[in-house]
């Protein structure tokens, strides 16, 4: 495991991507397929099984050290990570010296760690303590992370595929595709992953294609092109998904590469009507058959959380797959074809489907409409209509573009609506974790109610830059009025403009409103708390999303 621990350290210390890719490639070449496969699975986040809870590990640490629980909590607040806190506290355990333990990563992952998880109570504590005593310093943290399933390293998947490409001589796109839909960390899988294209084994029928991603619009770049070269669509407010029908089976994959068939039985039924060897790219939404627009993100979230949705939920929140691309037809990979041809094939395919699946009446499979665009001047007017149809903006895709792997700037643009805005007052703050450990970065904001009281309205974590975060952190420490565990209540003096994508009624929130994707747009040092918005401004936005401008500018 030392080699893997060293790799993690190198990745943390490396100054640039080139050094990181080199470290990864070097590691994969040195360690052999068994450990390499595990390194890959861990770095790609494809293996995050929790074998022991962080709580249990903390218990073992505290019992042995005699440190009080509250002191551990203080330490944790400073470190922001359980596994690391425990690793840093190990010297306090005064463990007896033990001969160093060095085992291959694969042995840890396949037998040692699961064996630890299977032990009970005292025996488990003793075994963990014995390992802590025997592991070299840098490995305790890693061991804790792997055991509690919290291992994450800041390595983009793109860097890993670049390293794999360097090792194997294969194209990055090919590797990205081979890695889709899960990776079983075995030497065989590693060999199959790196095998030359010509003698590659048949791909599993469940394997999705890497998603093509859009970049935020750069208006100047677009204006220089011919509008006729673009396909314009709504940007739906659902989740990206890939629907696969192959070999008599259906696979519904989310962007996060999770198989979500079970949550959407009605779509599985619909997919039976698709011809063999079909792969659709589209948006998963909740969209009742008779409705003219999707039901918003809230109902979709209810469906996503449910493994086996009951009949009532299926009735109340019916799902629909809004197709916008055809990636495979009759088993043939269409991705190299230009979008114009893929779109034509998609339209033909949907038109030929059995009526029950394709018509709006059934509503299970919908075709994302192509929007007319005469000239660039019309673009803004079109975008403003997005909210009226329940979309969050526009998508622009180059008609002559192939379906790329990942984000290729310039071929797919997303052009989102401006967020709704409200000015709110900072009420509470809590320390973040990881990079933001021990910095007050998780904020809760309030709006005025009719009785001149501030009511909590939204939480936001992002939007300030580092120097603002530091400044606000200092301010929070000096203006704390009360503490509730890790949360500080502060004097209600600081005003922030919050941006968010939408509002929904909610009985679970004190304000009666749930906010979608809130973030800080600006620190309003020019504003006094009295001038912040009140709940009725928010209500107005709920009833008429177009009423935006008036709210922030009372």
């Amino acid at each position: 495991m030392q080699a893997f621990a060293d790799l993690i350290q190198q990745l943390e210390r490396a100054a640039g991507t080139r050094a990181r890719v080199a470290a990864l490639a070097n590691h994969l070449e040195v360690v052999g397929p068994a450990d390499g496969a595990w390194a890959l699975a861990l770095l790609l986040g494809k293996r995050r099984r929790r074998l022991i809870t962080g709580r249990r590990l903390r218990e073992i640490c505290l019992e042995r050290s005699g440190l009080p629980e509250w002191l551990f909590a203080s330490c944790h607040a400073q470190v922001g990570d359980s596994a690391e806190t425990i690793a840093l506290l190990l010297p306090q355990l005064a463990l007896p010296p033990a001969p160093p333990l060095e085992l291959p990563l694969a042995e840890w992952m396949e037998s040692r760690l699961p064996a630890l998880a299977a032990l009970e109570a005292e025996a488990q504590a003793d075994a963990v303590l014995a390992i802590w005593a025997a592991l070299p310093e840098g490995q305790c943290f890693l061991f804790n992370k792997l055991l509690t399933g919290g291992f994450r390293v800041g390595v983009a998947a793109g860097l890993v595929t670049r390293a794999l490409a360097a090792v194997s001589g294969l194209e990055e796109a090919e590797l990205a595709h081979r890695l889709m839909g899960g990776f079983d960390p075995s030497p065989e899988a590693m060999q199959a992953l790196l095998a030359p294209v010509e003698d590659g084994a048949a791909a599993p029928i469940s394997r999705p294609y890497p998603f093509c991603l859009a970049s935020p619009l750069e208006a100047e770049r677009l204006a220089a092109t011919d509008p006729a070269g673009w396909q314009v669509e709504w940007k739906w407010d659902g989740i990206r998904a890939q629907l696969i029908r192959r070999g008599g089976q259906t696979f519904l994959w989310s962007r996060g590469e999770e198989l979500i068939n079970a949550s959407f039985p009605e779509l599985e039924g619909m997919a039976k009507g698709l011809p063999a060897g079909t792969v659709l790219d589209g948006e998963l939404t909740v969209w009742p058959a008779e409705a003219s627009q999707p039901a918003g993100f809230g109902p979709l979230q209810r469906r996503l959380g449910r493994q086996k949705p009951g009949a009532a939920l299926l009735r109340k929140c019916p799902a629909a797959f809004v197709a916008y691309d055809l990636l495979e037809q009759g088993g043939r990979d269409l991705r190299p074809e230009p979008l114009s041809q893929r779109r034509a094939a998609l339209e033909t395919l949907v038109r030929r489907l059995p009526a029950a699946a394709s018509t709006p009446a059934a509503g299970l499979l919908r075709l994302s409409p192509v929007l007319p665009l005469g000239c660039w001047d019309d673009l803004e007017a079109l975008r403003q209509q997005a909210r009226l149809v329940g979309a969050e903006g526009l998508m622009l895709k180059a008609l002559d573009s192939a379906y790329g792997v990942g984000r290729r700037r310039g071929l797919w643009w997303k052009h989102k609506l401006e967020p709704m805005e409200l000015d709110a007052v900072l009420l509470y703050a809590q320390a973040g974790s990881g990079r933001r450990a021990n910095l007050y970065t998780d904020y809760t904001f309030g709006l005025w109610d009719g009785d001149g009281r501030l009511v909590t309205f939204a939480k936001a974590y992002s939007g300030l830059d580092d120097s603002e975060i530091n400044e606000l952190d200092r301010w929070i420490r000096r203006h704390t009025t009360e503490r509730f565990g890790p949360v500080r209540a502060v004097e209600p003096l600081q005003v922030f403009t919050l941006g968010f994508e939408g509002l929904q009624r909610s009985s679970r929130h004190r304000s009666g409103l749930a906010v979608r994707f809130p973030r800080i747009l600006r620190w309003r040092r020019d504003r006094t708390p009295e001038s912040a918005d009140n709940l009725s401004n928010a209500q107005a936005l709920l009833e008429d999303p177009g009423a935006q401008r008036s709210a922030g500018q009372r």
Partner: protein, 355 residues
């Protein structure tokens, strides 16, 4: 929590005050008479009428507060009568000329620790335990996650880091007063004899250390190096405030590292944006704090700076001592003045008082 109003030491808006000596200890505002534990900017502030400090720290103090200040230098351990109190300064092991201040009057002895550490440091006098009835201690690193490795060992890692980069300059960021000289002294002890380049802020502190006889490698201000001379393979020490400043334009693809106790935590390392973080502090770690409380034999402990609530609670609940935080008045003192060279001044790493 405030100190009792009739005690030997009291808390006033200017800071800790001893009525018997008519003197403040490390006052936050100008006062008539200031007893100074050491020269860091959050402890030694300008504008007071008279200063008392350890003779070994005189050079630094005059440089920072003005050559003409009224400053009485006292030797370590030398007992002086100030007003109705007996006052003595004892080595704190923090930086050159740093002291714990012991004050006795009316049959009672108080000890104000100032900033201190228990670890070996070739650039200053080692900490000496002092007995007292009441102890006021700092708790900058008052959490058991902080446990320092020997300075020599960390210096050896820094040396290896420097030696490995033969084609690039190595830029080491460290607090200009104390940490930088400690590192240089440790490098000298490891056999380094070649010239180390310094940022102007670090250079300014070299003379007092050399006068004090601390063994250091040869140093030169970076500004004296002819333009265009290659910096590949050279070690340069600079204060953290120089990181990502225009000053760094001089360097072609340097490797960077930050030396600070806060670097013990991964999140802090990542947040600061240095490639490497070396955990080395001039403050006491958790075990050092507990040991110092024990060594003092104090019946009452007050805790300032950093995790003051937490350390006080631990002493009270786990060790049965009378201990209280002096809390809020000290929290924010360091960040307010924003002096980056002071370890405790780094807001991102400052521990919260308690949870």
């Amino acid at each position: 929590m405030v100190l009792p109003g009739d005690g030997l030491i009291q808390l006033t808006p200017e800071g800790l005050y001893c009525p018997a000596a008519k003197a403040w200890i490390d006052p936050w505002r100008p006062v008539s008479r200031a007893l100074i534990t050491h020269g860091h900017a959050d402890h030694a502030r300008p504008g007071s009428g008279a200063y008392w400090a350890v003779a070994a720290g005189e050079g630094v103090l005059r440089q920072r507060l003005g050559a003409g200040i009224d400053l009485k230098g006292v030797d370590y351990g030398e007992e002086r009568r100030i007003g109705e109190a007996l006052v003595s300064f004892h080595p704190a092991g923090h930086v050159l000329g740093s002291a714990q201040i012991r004050i006795s009057a009316g049959g009672e002895t108080w000890l104000i620790s100032g900033d201190y550490k228990r670890d070996a440091d070739p650039s200053c006098a080692p900490f000496e335990p002092v007995a007292a009835d009441v102890l006021i201690t700092e708790a900058t690193f008052g959490l058991p996650i902080y446990r320092w490795r020997p300075g020599r060992q960390v210096a050896a890692e820094i040396l290896a880091w420097w030696r490995a980069a033969t084609q690039h300059p190595s830029l080491l960021f460290a607090y200009a007063f104390g940490k930088a000289q400690r590192l240089l002294a440790e490098l000298a002890a490891l056999g380094v004899e070649e010239e180390v380049l310094l940022h102007g802020a670090v250079q300014a502190l070299m003379a007092p250390y050399r006068r004090a006889g601390v063994v250091l490698p040869p140093t030169r201000p970076l500004s004296e190096l002819p333009r265009g001379e290659s910096l590949a393979g050279r070690l340069v020490i600079a204060p953290p405030s120089a990181h990502r400043s225009a000053w760094m334009k001089r360097f072609n693809a340097p490797q960077t590292a930050f030396v600070s106790g806060w670097m013990a935590v991964r999140g802090a390392r990542r947040r600061r944006g240095f490639e490497r973080g070396f955990a080395l502090s001039d403050h006491a770690d958790w075990d050092g704090l507990l040991r110092t409380v024990r060594d003092s034999g104090a019946r009452q402990v007050y805790v300032t700076h950093g995790n003051s609530d937490g350390l006080a609670r631990f002493l009270r609940e786990e060790q049965g001592l009378a201990a209280e935080p002096l809390g809020r008045a000290f929290e924010g003192q360091r960040s307010e003045e924003g002096d980056v060279e002071v370890e405790g001044a780094m807001p991102p790493g400052r521990p919260i008082e308690s949870v």
